[in-house]
């Protein structure tokens, strides 16, 4: 039973691991393979700061809120373990700032210590009149993806460095199920007008005196199109660009100026920070995550595909919940093929 995961960002690798952990013991013939043209540190996930935080406005999708919660709880459980440091996982506290009062987010009880900002705290951020404070998690992909890769390799999962051109190509090669974790370029395998790039640009600086994340929100400006500052374990990420429909992965001098000036205005203490690197990436933006089964018919056969893409700017935040859901979909395929001797395991 061969399962091929296409894509090696946070979604692809975590789905591969989840699937292997769930079914390896139940399906002795299970072989999991990963195909990707880009591996860490060249994936979209690698550029993300790694802050666990869903969008602040509920897209009305309870399913996604549950997946976010599953991910947070899963990561929180790993915090005290010896693996945490290697995973790039740690707690971080910080601020969300608004120019007017807003309803509490769907995730207020998922994070730790969620509360509104006090007037004295708001004085630190001129121009913002409302805000939240909470403790959340950081999961840095430049550590997490290698950690996932190592776990997968230990389990005998094979990695292939190639660009998959079609589902057919993979299923013709003898793969039974394809898990499509191709992120922003999923449209190349199957057109999806709902999937759009949300181009982001970030500046990586050395500013170890910054201990809090600060994310600003301006109504009508779109998420992450206004300044944010996220301190990592080594570097601090400055951002605030989200250009819908822009496929350009080159850094823009204009965007650099926008990010730098707006972040320094937000946090004057950044002015002496040393700039280390600049990076652009494309958020796989979609009105909702595409997480579903599809039997893709082609020429002389069909391919069983599980789609798991379109996680926008919250891939890290939602990844494990989606991996579990994708694994459940695989479970139903295995059940149909009567490959699991015992009843469906409780996931």
């Amino acid at each position: 039973m061969r399962v091929a995961v296409i894509g090696a960002g946070v979604i692809g690798l975590s789905t591969a691991l989840c699937v292997h952990e769930q079914y390896h013991g139940l399906v002795p013939s299970l072989e999991v393979e990963v195909y990707a043209d880009r591996y860490t540190p060249h994936t979209t996930s690698d550029g993300a700061a790694g802050l666990w935080q869903p969008y602040v406005r509920d897209r009305g999708n309870l399913q996604e809120t549950l997946w976010n919660k599953e991910t947070f709880d899963y990561l929180l459980g790993h915090l005290g373990s010896a693996a945490a440091k290697e995973m790039g996982l740690f707690l971080i506290s910080g601020y969300n700032l608004f120019t007017q009062p807003v309803p509490d987010p769907a995730w207020k009880n998922i994070v730790l210590g969620f509360r509104n900002l006090t007037p004295k705290e708001l004085e630190l951020f001129p121009g913002y009149s409302y805000g939240w404070f909470n403790t959340a998690l950081m999961l840095e992909c430049r550590s997490y993806l290698p950690w996932l890769s190592n776990r997968l390799r230990q389990k005998g999962v094979k990695f292939f460095h190639k660009k998959v051109e079609s589902f057919q190509e993979v299923s013709d090669g003898g793969v039974d199920v394809v898990i499509n974790c191709t992120g922003v370029r999923a449209g190349e395998l199957q057109p999806d007008p709902e999937l759009q790039p949300g181009r982001g640009q970030i500046i990586k600086v050395l500013a170890p005196w910054v201990k809090h994340f600060i994310v600003t929100h301006i109504t009508d400006s779109g998420i992450y199109n206004v300044p944010y500052i996220i301190p990592g374990s080594e570097f601090t990420i400055l951002g605030g660009i989200n250009q819908r429909g822009n496929w350009n992965e080159e850094n823009s001098a204009q965007d650099h100026k926008t990010i730098w000036e707006s972040c320094c205005r937000l946090l004057p203490a950044l002015q002496k920070a040393q700039i280390v690197e600049e990076w652009s990436g494309l958020r796989p933006t979609r009105p909702s995550v595409r997480l579903e089964r599809e039997t893709v018919r082609h020429g002389h056969g069909q391919a069983e595909v599980i789609h798991n893409y379109g996680h926008g700017g919250f891939g890290i935040t939602i990844h494990w919940g989606c991996a579990l859901a994708a694994a459940r979909l695989l479970g139903s395929i295995l059940q149909e093929r009567k490959l699991t001797g015992s009843p469906q395991p409780r996931l």
Partner: protein, 341 residues
């Protein structure tokens, strides 16, 4: 009279901040800092520099609160400016956790720090051995950066600094009109203050940049304070122990206690050990005197004995000391104009 000549003895956080306050309030004064130690070898350099006050039995609470508030306000402004990184001042959030609910659940300083509240059940789950906690955001003064920044500001105003061991304040009477005694634990010998005693603290400074929140056990013995480049792990409170040598078994004990509060610290690298002697006293000695001998007078202002709470109240006591220096100057001018009659 000619510009008053002021000597500040001591170059830790108290000496340097007091010198700066004197310069700010008395621009005509000529201020010199004398100390046998400068950063990175002062007691202040061993301290984490976190702004969490200690209750001093001999000082009225409203005065302690005033000093803390002045210090907090002063440093908050620096932390939110372009100077922040050079001055070593940054905001930090975290938790103070208690194994047993304390008598005083809301300390006197709760409305000075930011966002003070009790910890939620979910937050307490991270600390299975503790059943009560407080969450808040406060400030940290990293040393050496903060002391070096103070030195730089002092030099920019023309203050001279000399390495000199002063054995007796009186030896300064011929060069200076006013001496400000910020000798910290050194005051035990310098002015023979028997009420001043060391409380020895050993700390570890480790490289663990993923630790972004502070954690302090309410017993004051175990704490984790992330600084700009290093995390300070502590500590000990050994009354009347004068030893400045690190003790290896204490190092292991501190590390174990901190790892049990924050397991990820087990992966911390690059452990440096430091020792400091907290200059403890039932209250800060903040008073002025006039010493005279053979017709010669010397005004003395004392500002020492801050114990474990030096950083938390330094600016407040520095301003008070500068005010006392002002009184000395008024006294000197009064007597010199009387002398003219």
């Amino acid at each position: 009279m000619a510009a008053p000549k002021v000597a500040v003895v001591g170059a830790g956080v108290i000496g340097l901040s007091t010198a700066l306050c004197i310069v700010e309030t008395c621009p005509s004064c000529s201020v010199t800092v004398l100390s046998d130690q400068f950063s990175p070898n002062t007691t202040s350099d061993a301290a984490a520099g976190i702004l969490i006050p200690h209750t001093s039995p001999g000082t009225p609470i409203h005065v302690q609160k005033q000093w803390f508030k002045e210090t907090f306000t002063y440093l908050l402004a620096i932390s939110n400016s372009a100077e922040a990184s050079e001055a070593g001042i940054h905001l930090i959030s975290g938790w103070q956790v208690f194994k047993n609910t304390p008598k005083e659940e809301i300390p006197f300083w709760s409305d000075v720090v930011l966002g003070f509240r009790s910890m939620s059940e979910a937050e307490l789950q991270k600390f299975p051995q503790h059943r009560f906690g407080q969450a808040f955001t406060t400030l940290k003064c990293d040393c050496p950066p903060y002391l070096l920044w103070l030195e730089k500001r002092l030099k920019a105003t023309g203050v001279q600094m000399y390495t000199r061991k002063v054995a007796d304040l009186w030896e300064l009477h011929s060069e200076y009109n006013i001496v400000v005694n910020c000798a910290g634990i050194g005051a035990h010998q310098l002015v023979g203050d028997e009420k001043l005693f060391p409380v020895r603290g050993q700390v570890l400074k480790v490289h663990a940049p993923w630790v972004k929140n502070f954690i302090r056990d309410g017993d004051g013995l175990t704490y984790i304070y992330p600084g700009i480049h290093r995390v300070t792990l502590g500590g000990t409170r050994e009354k009347k122990n004068w030893s400045l040598s690190p003790d290896p078994s204490t190092t292991k004990d501190i590390f174990d206690r901190c790892c049990s509060l924050e397991p990820s610290l087990c992966g911390a690298q690059d452990v440096t050990v430091k020792v400091g002697l907290r200059p403890s006293r039932w209250c800060v000695r903040l008073q002025r005197e006039v010493w005279s001998q053979g017709g010669v007078k010397l005004s003395v202002v004392h500002n020492y004995g801050h114990g474990a709470g030096g950083f938390s109240i330094h600016r407040g006591t520095a301003k008070e000391a500068a005010r006392l220096v002002g009184e000395c100057i008024a006294g000197l001018q009064g007597s010199s104009s009387r002398a003219k009659l």
